[in-house]
């Protein structure tokens, strides 16, 4: 990469020289050329520095944390305990049980929706489909969408999955005990409440949460906004390259 850039720079300067000899013949030409050369070096330097920064990039770990004393190799040390997603048990569109074990050793993106939701859900699903399309052949990544409607039975979810052409190999649409779903929403910092005045009867936020292999929240994104989902896609790549 560096060699290529250097080559490009030299070529460019060479071209510039020819240009100057042919056209300028003026006093300022040499100074101009030098200035341009300097500028090119600065740009090149920035590019090199930029690529270094990219490698060192890590996502933040979200949520409350606490310091605890743990015993390691016979010594008592202070360790940081992060907010982690607790155990859960739901059922997906193919009547298969989905628990925290389904996501063992995987990165996953999660959200809360319902199939008949007339407000923000279609936009959320349009954006989540972007995540699905990008990673559908990558078995390090899964998607978990919780339905918050009591009417979304397994057949309803199966029908929905069929219509938007998604497979439970990569994307689980789950239902279960309503209080359990609400409890899990809190764990992902998503608001879910029943409200008769809301269109569809439920109120919920449209966030996507990104969860790492250690079940820690590494990012929260507004699932209705394409720019935020652009960031999510970038962050998934960063998380995939992160050392544990």
């Amino acid at each position: 990469m560096a060699l290529f850039l250097l080559f490009q720079t030299k070529n460019f300067v060479g071209g510039l020289k020819l240009f100057c000899i042919a056209k300028c013949f003026s006093f300022g030409a040499k100074i101009k050329e030098k200035l341009l050369l300097m500028r090119l070096w600065v740009i090149w330097g920035l590019l090199v520095l930029g690529s270094c920064n990219e490698k060192a990039k890590r996502l933040p770990i979200l949520g409350e944390r606490q310091a605890v004393q743990v015993e390691k190799n016979g010594k008592i040390i202070i360790d940081t305990l992060y907010h982690t997603i607790p155990a859960f048990r739901f059922i997906n569109q193919d009547s298969v049980e989905v628990t925290e074990k389904t996501f063992e050793g995987k990165i996953y993106v999660t959200d809360f929706f319902f199939t008949t939701c007339p407000s923000i859900c279609p936009k959320m699903k349009q954006q989540m489909l972007r995540v699905y399309e990008k990673y559908k052949d990558d078995d390090r990544i899964l998607i978990l969408s919780h339905s918050i409607s009591r009417e979304d039975s397994v057949p309803v979810l199966r029908d929905y999955a069929k219509k938007i052409k998604i497979s439970s190999r990569r994307w689980h649409l789950v239902t279960g005990n309503w209080n359990e779903i609400e409890r899990m929403a809190k764990q992902y910092f998503v608001t879910v409440t029943e409200d008769k005045n809301e269109p569809g009867g439920y109120l919920h936020s449209g966030h996507f949460a990104l969860i790492d292999k250690q079940k820690r929240i590494r990012g929260i994104y507004e699932g209705t906004k394409p720019q935020e989902v652009d960031k999510l896609l970038q962050d998934i790549d960063i998380l995939l390259n992160e050392n544990p």
Binding site: P122, K123, K125, Q126, K163, I164
Partner: protein
């Protein structure tokens, strides 16, 4: 008859106020459709009318709209259930009703859809919309 001076002075002002109101009315009907679309339709049919893969039919370049312009008003007001064939794909997902929209609002909204999203369907007159709405179901 002598017109009192204050009234004479008020004429140009009235003229401009009238112009302003006329303008407001014109742009309101133009833009009302767009605003209503953003408020009532775009969260499902999306900003550019593309719909949602296999679930929500597109309004963009939709053959169904050209074939059934007289049914649009009823669907906006009372929603839609059952299968619809749009651009060769069957959609079967219920659409909610919008009972609070007036006839005028439905008129502006219908014409906004018919003349946007790459649709080139002739606009419907207000009388046609009223008739369409009377013959729902």
């Amino acid at each position: 008859m002598k017109i009192p001076k204050p009234i004479l002075a008020a004429f140009p002002v009235l003229f401009f106020v009238g112009l302003l109101l006329g303008n407001l009315f014109f742009f309101r009907t133009q833009e009302q459709g767009q605003k209503l679309y953003a408020l009532h339709c775009s969260s499902c049919h999306m900003e550019k009318g593309e719909g949602l893969a296999g679930l929500i039919p597109p309004l963009k370049n939709a053959d169904w709209l050209a074939q059934n312009p007289e049914k649009i008003a009823c669907i906006i007001r009372y929603g839609q259930k059952g299968k619809v064939l749009v651009n060769g794909i069957i959609y079967n997902h219920p659409m909610p009703a919008n009972l609070k929209l007036s006839d005028t609002e439905i008129h502006n909204l219908t014409n906004f859809i018919l003349s946007n999203f790459e649709n080139q369907v002739p606009k419907r007159t207000f009388e046609q919309i009223v008739k369409d709405l009377q013959s729902c179901h």
